[in-house]
């Protein structure tokens, strides 16, 4: 115990720390040891749930992708699904395939950023450059030609389908990018996952047990790294995931290294999904005809998807008006960054804080909403 006169030192981690994003954890430290961590969110709170009550579904499609900058298409998808379910729409088969392909590319590029952050947190700048570099292939050759913008797709996946069809040379571009991603996985295997320094910094750090993962509400790669086999794509299938073959990687250690490694294995599975979807994609319509001034049906829906960070969900209530009555957005990072992170940082060294923080696959934007 510390004597009373000296006390503990309060160390703010963020909100402008290069490793934290727009988010702060207040650490109470005793020497090098963290005694207590307290998350302080709100730097990116934009009130999307309220904003959406004032807009029609087609306008909301554009708002929805702003929820998380690192994976905008996943949030477009979950919003579109919530509206589709209220309206009772069965969207064209081709639109489902396009949605799945883009959602998986979003997962890959989001995981590459995750590895970049993880490398940076352990002082490995080369890894940061590699991750950001490979991600750019997806932005440049997939997102820009398909959605029209590199990062924000401005509601490309919208209620009733997608905004327009894939470009003509999409096949070629897609397979070329996949080749590059294979190379990226190889590079990360060589440089990051077999790197003794990275292993030393991450193995056995921030261990989350099975029981704690459930108790604290962890989802996605975080809970799979703790040994629970669950995936919304498999357990609660949406779009065409029940027709595709893919594995769900699971690891038992629950430490920072296994969380990163789950991400690496998910990239491989995502590539498998994209290849299958590309082969089976039918021709035909890409969207239903949607009247921008339509009235929504009365009802409610709870749409869940597996985003790169975990379970993303939207609860939507409609009273039969042109605008939804209530929209609740459930961001995976809301649970990962507040209860889970506060729990994991306790009794850790200060130097491990960025490692644990980045191993949560963070996105402060979908926490604050």
């Amino acid at each position: 115990m510390k004597d009373k006169e000296i006390g503990f030192y309060e160390l703010p981690f963020g909100p402008a720390h290069s490793g934290s994003g727009n988010f702060m954890v207040k650490l109470k430290v005793d020497g090098e040891r963290v005694v207590e961590a307290r998350a302080d969110p709100g730097y990116l709170h934009r009130g999307f749930e309220k904003l959406m009550e004032y807009r029609t579904p087609l306008q909301n499609a554009v708002v929805a992708d702003r929820v998380c900058i690192l994976e905008p298409l996943s949030w477009d998808l979950v919003h579109a699904e919530a509206v589709d379910e209220i309206m009772g729409w069965d969207i064209p088969e081709r639109a489902k395939y396009i949605r799945v392909i883009l959602a998986e590319f979003t997962r890959i590029q989001s995981h590459l950023i995750w590895f970049s952050g993880g490398s940076m947190a352990t002082g490995f700048q080369t890894g940061f450059m590699i991750g950001i570099g490979y991600r750019d292939y997806i932005l440049e050759h997939i997102f820009e030609p398909v959605t029209g913008a590199r990062v924000y797709p401005t509601g490309y996946i919208r209620p009733g389908g997608v905004r327009w069809d894939l470009p003509k040379d999409f096949d070629k571009k897609c397979y070329n990018v996949l080749k590059k991603i294979e190379k990226a996985v190889e590079d990360f295997d060589k440089l990051l996952f077999s790197n003794p320094v990275f292993k030393e910094r991450t193995q056995g750090v921030g261990v989350l047990s099975k029981e704690d993962a459930i108790r604290l509400g962890a989802t996605g790669p975080i809970i799979r790294a703790s040994g629970i086999e669950t995936d919304v794509r498999r357990d609660d299938p949406y779009e065409i995931y029940d027709e595709l073959e893919f594995n769900i990687p699971v690891m038992d250690e629950g430490d920072a290294y296994s969380r990163f490694f789950i991400g690496r294995m998910e990239i491989v599975e995502s590539m498998k999904i994209i290849r299958q979807a590309m082969e089976r994609m039918p021709r035909g319509e890409y969207s239903l005809k949607v009247n921008p001034f339509m009235k929504m049906k009365k009802g409610e829906s709870y749409a869940r998807i597996e985003a790169a960070r975990g379970e993303a969900a939207i609860y939507m209530v409609s009273t039969g008006d042109r605008k939804p009555y209530r929209v609740k957005i459930r961001g995976p990072s809301f649970l990962h960054l507040i209860p889970v992170l506060e729990f994991l940082l306790k009794d850790q060294q200060i130097a491990d804080v960025p490692t644990i923080y980045w191993s949560m696959n963070t996105c402060p934007a979908d926490m604050d909403r």
Binding site: A313, F334, L335
Partner: protein, 163 residues
């Protein structure tokens, strides 16, 4: 008792495969959630509030997911808008319930009795009405707080909003 039997008396609606909705009176919710948790609904996917201002009620919605049965069960309950208080489910779902309740307390002003920490989360120095309630007019708030009436250049905003 299986989970189907727990909610049987309350006429659950099956929306589609893996989506079940059920309305439960306010004073029974805590016990039923406790039983459902014990039966395998371990994951509190989300906790949300809907402001039915015309009825004078708040609707609290618990979205539960079961890893075992692979079912999303939504438990809904209504409380009076004037007396917005309900027993916290912190003892059942622990920290994951705590953080959702803390958010809903801040945005809707609902008192969760038994929650150990309902301190402000996103908003800073907020003295107004909870902002996600339907009777909080954000346009009026922004206009009174951030726009200057005497400024000629901001007149356009005024004219649009006064219509």
């Amino acid at each position: 008792m299986s989970w189907e039997e727990i909610i049987k008396d309350y006429n659950p609606t099956i929306q589609r495969e893996r989506r079940i909705w059920v309305n439960i009176p306010k004073d029974k919710v805590y016990d039923i959630l406790q039983n459902l948790k014990n039966e395998g609904f371990e994951h509190l996917s989300s906790l949300s509030v809907t402001d039915w201002i015309d009825e004078g009620k708040f609707e609290i919605t618990y979205h539960l997911w079961s890893y075992k049965f692979k079912v999303l069960l939504t438990v809904k309950t209504k409380i009076d808008r004037e007396e917005a208080k309900i027993k916290s489910i912190y003892p059942i779902y622990d920290r994951s319930a705590w953080i959702h309740e803390r958010e809903m307390h801040e945005l809707f002003g609902i008192e969760f009795i038994g929650n150990p920490d309902l301190s402000p989360l996103f908003l800073e120095d907020w003295n107004e009405k909870p902002p996600f309630r339907k009777d909080f007019d954000w346009r009026e708030y922004v206009r009174s707080k951030y726009y200057n009436k005497e400024n000629e250049r901001e007149k356009a905003y005024w004219e649009v909003w006064l219509k």
